[in-house]
Symmetry: C2
Subunit: 166 residues, 2 copies
């Protein structure tokens, strides 16, 4: 029987990836939360915001939960780098594995729901009036998608770390 | 150094999960492909189909690719169960790991894009005329989501199998 792999990802690489995830999610959050456009309708001017669409509300929820989880993991990584010990011990490898998996699925659903909605909304009559709003929302969803790619990298790392658990 | 874990998931469990994935995706495919509704408009009767919406076209694409991949994996599993050898050898553990990961992300985006679009489309004026179409589409997206959950199980199994690679 050969020993389990010891050449897992260095802690600082893992930390950098998590910081990149956080940056993408933070910018996505700011973009979606500040996005609004005033549209002229027969009933007067109407200000549209992310709250008016289920898909964008879901996007902002995924981004906030993703940021909270990533911040927690960054704290764990810094503690590992400074003290050499992982808070919670080796049992936390399982937490990382399932946590990273769940958060990455969660983030990609936020981005996909927004893209799916925006793409078909653009086909509707009158959507030209708020195309700026839709384009900015798409930018926020794209940032969430980039954050998701970094989260996938974290998830792959934590899968490779699983054998350490034994 | 302790040996790597040997108690991975039995091949027949893995096969059953993949068959369940395939069944969900197949039903989802049939539901979405046969879904249509005739809507009366000022310009006469219009038949709406999944092709008229980007999100549903994306859903059907993810379901088809998911089915093709799952069929391939079922063939591999049956070969493993009958001959005791995995086609492609141990190197295929990495293929399973990344393949399962990719397909599960892919399936969940299909479901999320459809849900995101349908939910906001239902808020629009006149959407009552084709609510049957939207509800059936939601059912297809739900089946894709259930298929995704089975795909996640496969993905977890293949992550646990990774240490075998060494």
């Amino acid at each position: 029987m050969t020993p389990p792999p010891t050449s897992t990802v260095p802690p600082y690489v893992s930390l950098i990836v998590r910081i990149l995830t956080l940056i993408c999610l933070l910018i996505s959050f700011i973009v979606i939360a500040t996005n609004n456009q005033t549209v002229s309708t027969v009933a007067g001017d109407v200000k549209i915001k992310f709250k008016d669409f289920y898909a964008y509300r879901y996007l902002i929820a995924t981004v906030i939960i993703g940021m909270a989880y990533t911040l927690l993991q960054i704290a764990f990584s810094i503690s590992l780098l400074t003290t050499g010990n992982r808070i919670g011990g080796e049992g936390f490898l399982l937490f990382d594995f399932y946590g990273d998996k769940f958060i990455s699925y969660f983030l990609v659903t936020g981005a996909a729901a927004s893209f799916g909605m925006t793409q078909d909304l653009k086909q509707l009559e009158g959507s030209d009036n708020y195309s700026k709003f839709l384009n900015t929302s798409n930018a926020a969803a794209s940032l969430c998608l980039i954050g998701f790619f970094f989260a996938v990298a974290s998830s792959i790392f934590s899968s490779y770390n699983l054998p350490k658990r034994i």
